[in-house]
């Protein structure tokens, strides 16, 4: 009995120790493997779209770099991709970017994150709030270098920058200063030592952008060719292993600057105004040792350059699609909640959204009023997502976006969808204008209050005027009208109207000829 027990113990010990041995020896031998998994760093929630299959694996065959330079830029207000079309079809967003950077760092990669600027493309109070959000998020993500874009500087940036924690303020520009270059609110360049490598970096706002801005009261702007000679010698004297120049300007200007200052030896030159999609590889800039990096648009991608001192190759390059393989970071979700709370506090008035009369001069009646007579159209409409468009902003988004004009504009009745402001008598709030919830009939047909009043006998007009009011609300689909190649887009009005909301950002799959049959309705019956 005793022996049998011992025998069991021996086998258990042998198996256990053998397993440990397998793991230890296996790990040693596999030590040279790339640290980054090919199937995405970590997959986000289960999704019907496989991000890796759709957008490709990343860091295939990469050994751990001495230092990873992570480049982003041109977010253009896309704090997050629009969820209307399903987030798994969209790329970008600060929540995913945060997770991506965190995962690199967790794998022990020394990361230097740099952003070329252009956080925002719009104007107005909401745009200011978004830049505030962006700067705080970039600081939280440990960005070391963040440049300026032309539209960023058109906003009231001063108070935002003043509120940044000086210890984590990442703003760097050779040619843009807040106040003047002595104010200390921005740095002209940065030298960062990490992973045994010394990286010098600066940013410039392009010459055309500087000219467009002219003289700004709160900022000092210099043309890049005046500013760079003032600081590049210092960068060169610092004897950096790599020099980085981020140009908020065109690829041509970025290349020309690299050539002009080739003696200073920029190795990596970024342009924020390349094509929407970055190329798979960096391009060598003729006559220099520099490589040009494009980062695409809307911050849908991050570009990573891994540096290997004395390695062969000495660098590796990866375009990282910021898709749903990267889970939403709770840290940024928390900021989103605060941001939505700010929008609620400000209200439409506080956000400076003044109402404007509808171009037709009409007033909105609300979908229920239309449905009293147009019963067949009502049956169709009530079974489409248009009817639930407002509800969607409350129940299907986290946090709810019911106070966000960028979302409201296409989810209620009576707003200008592209310029994002309410028309007079358009939706104001759930409490003030409950009849204007949903993306209602009048968004396409036009405000119909007078037509309804006439038809209900509340306003007396002659027959010609009555018909004129009806005719003004009719829409006609022209032959082969649609938004796809080979279809008629410019001559019709209906598909164009749909595209005001079903645009490429928010509804990339929209195909008028496929969607229309789902909500086909004709006149009154």
């Amino acid at each position: 009995m005793h022996i049998r027990v011992m025998q069991r113990t021996n086998w258990w010990m042998i198996v256990s120790l053998a397993s440990i041995g397998m793991v230890v020896i296996g790990s040693i031998l596999r030590g040279a493997d790339p640290p980054a998994p090919e199937k995405g760093l970590t997959a986000a929630a289960q999704s019907k779209v496989d991000a890796v299959e759709a957008n490709g694996p990343i860091f295939v065959g990469w050994p751990k770099p001495d230092v990873a330079l992570v480049f982003t830029g041109s977010m253009s207000g896309y704090l997050e991709p629009c969820g209307c079309a399903g987030l798994e079809n969209q790329k970008g967003g600060l929540k995913r970017r945060f997770t991506f950077l965190e995962q690199l760092r967790k794998q022990g990669w020394p990361v230097i994150a740099m952003d070329g600027g252009s956080q925002e493309r719009d104007t107005g109070v909401q745009a200011v709030l978004k830049v505030d959000f962006a700067y705080k998020a970039l600081a939280l993500m440990g960005y070391q270098v963040v440049g300026f874009g032309e539209n960023d500087l058109k906003l009231d940036l001063l108070p935002i920058v003043l509120n940044l924690d000086p210890a984590t303020n990442p703003l760097v520009s050779a040619n843009v200063a807040i106040g003047d270059f002595k104010s200390g609110l921005t740095k002209r360049y940065k030298i960062i030592t990490l992973g045994g490598q010394k990286i010098g970096a600066t940013t410039v706002l392009g010459a055309k952008e500087v000219a467009n801005l002219g003289t700004l009261n709160d900022f000092k702007l210099l043309p890049p060719r005046q500013a760079l000679p003032e600081i590049v010698p210092d960068l060169k004297n610092a004897k950096c292993d790599h020099l980085v120049l981020l140009v908020n300007g065109t690829p041509d200007e970025a290349k020309q600057l690299a050539v002009t200052y080739k003696d200073f030896g920029f190795d990596w030159v970024l342009t924020t105004k390349g094509a929407e999609v970055p190329p798979k590889d960096p391009s060598k800039i003729d006559g220099t040792n520099a490589h040009l990096i494009e980062i695409g648009e809307k911050a849908e991608y991050a570009v990573v350059v891994g540096l290997y001192k004395g390695g062969n190759p000495s660098y590796r390059y990866q375009v990282v699609p910021l898709d749903h393989r990267f889970a939403d970071a709770p840290e940024i979700t928390k900021m989103q909640i605060e941001y939505q709370h700010s929008l609620e506090n400000m209200g439409l008035n506080g956000l400076g959204l003044r109402t404007t009369p509808h171009p037709s001069g009409g007033k909105f009646a609300g979908t229920k009023t239309c449905e009293e007579c147009h019963t067949h159209a009502a049956e169709v409409f009530d079974n489409t997502p248009h009817a639930k468009a407002t509800e969607t902003l409350i129940s299907r988004t986290t946090p709810p976006r019911i106070n966000d004009p960028e979302c409201i504009c296409c989810h209620v009745t009576g707003w200008e969808p592209q310029k994002q402001f309410p028309f007079e008598t358009g939706y104001r709030s759930l409490k003030e204008t409950p009849a204007l919830v949903g993306n209602g009939c009048e968004n396409c047909h036009g405000p119909a209050a007078k037509h309804a009043d006439v038809e209900n006998g509340l306003v007396k007009v002659n027959d010609a005027q009555k018909e004129q009011l009806r005719a003004a609300l009719r829409l006609k689909i022209v032959e082969n009208e649609g938004n796809k190649p080979g279809q008629v887009y410019d001559k019709g009005k209906v598909a164009q109207m749909c595209m005001q909301c079903h645009d490429l950002d928010n509804s990339p799959d929209f195909d008028f000829q496929k969607y229309w049959p789902k909500m086909k309705h004709v006149g009154k019956d």
Binding site: M13, I14, A18, V24, P159, E276, S342, G350, L504
Partner: protein, 386 residues
Amino acid sequence: MRIIRLILFAVLVGGLVGGAVAFVQVRNDLPPVTELPGGTMLVVPGSKEKMAHAKVEEPHYDFGTMQRGTAKSHNFTITNSGDAPLKLKAGTTSCKCTLSEVSESAIAPGESTQVKVQWTAKADNGPFRQTANIMTNDPLQSTVELTVDGKIMSASGVEPSDLMFDKIPVGESKSTQTFVMAMLQDDLTVTDPVLSDPTTRDRFDVKIEPVDTKDLPNKNARRGFKVTVTALPGLPAGRVMQWLSLRTNLQDAEKLEIPIMGQVVGDISVHGTGWSEDHSALMLGNIKSSEGGHAKLSIVVRGAEAAGTTFAIKSVDPPEMKVKIGEPRKLKDTLVQTPLEIEIPVGTRPMVHLDTSQGDPGHIVLTTTNPKIKELAVDVQFAVER
């Protein structure tokens, strides 16, 4: 001793097995490589089975310059250089404006097929690049990426894209300008300027005048007009937001809408997250008593008196609000910032100060040493709930 021998034996066996497994794995990671189009090196599995191999001579095509709104297409040739039938299927594209047409019939070894990629230039002026992925049964590359790029040129241009005043001193006049240009036509008309906001429409003057092409900001322009908007004295303090609409005979822009932006400011202004210029108030909204509320504002003083201007608290209503003035910071000789912190402390009793019938907004008065402005009032809209 027996135990030690057992341990040594187990570690030896485990190590050998582990090492063998790892060796196989490492070997699998490092088999021979083959070169794919574009110079990408891919791993070749050790199998001797027949397999298809998709080869693209030119996976990239330059469409050159395209006019906005037009479409172009290119046929990429994919050859099966393997020894098994090659199957292709349209995969994802970088933009839904990119279309790829792929024949789904199998391609015999040595045969080729054409894959048509079409792209409609819908983006703004500047470079573009789009990709279309073709799925394959090639075990070496499940996806072939085809790229088209080029530059988009609009038939028209507005440069700068907006009319920006920046800061307009209260009571003063200021002008800003932009250029409307035609790139593809020699005749251009720009007429019927209309401002969107009727409440301040009469405080602006709009002038449209033709400009010699050499003075236009875009060298491709064949005709152009300068549009100058002047803000006249009398605009109320706060944000300026208007849209200037213009009629043109441009093919792609019969109606132009150009934003007009700016800020009418006095020598002293208040800024910060939650500050509403329209209300001249800090909008804190509903605050839970158990959490309290807090905001950091900046008082910015501009002009020759900036450096000498200091602030002191004169009154705070309701007294529960805590107000703190920070140290002034000189950003340049004519620009000084003074921090102003406002706190609704945790535990504050319920109250309503939302500027409604239930209660006026909170009100803070600061005295200043500025010779032009003796007092500065700061309203705070908030309500404290349990």
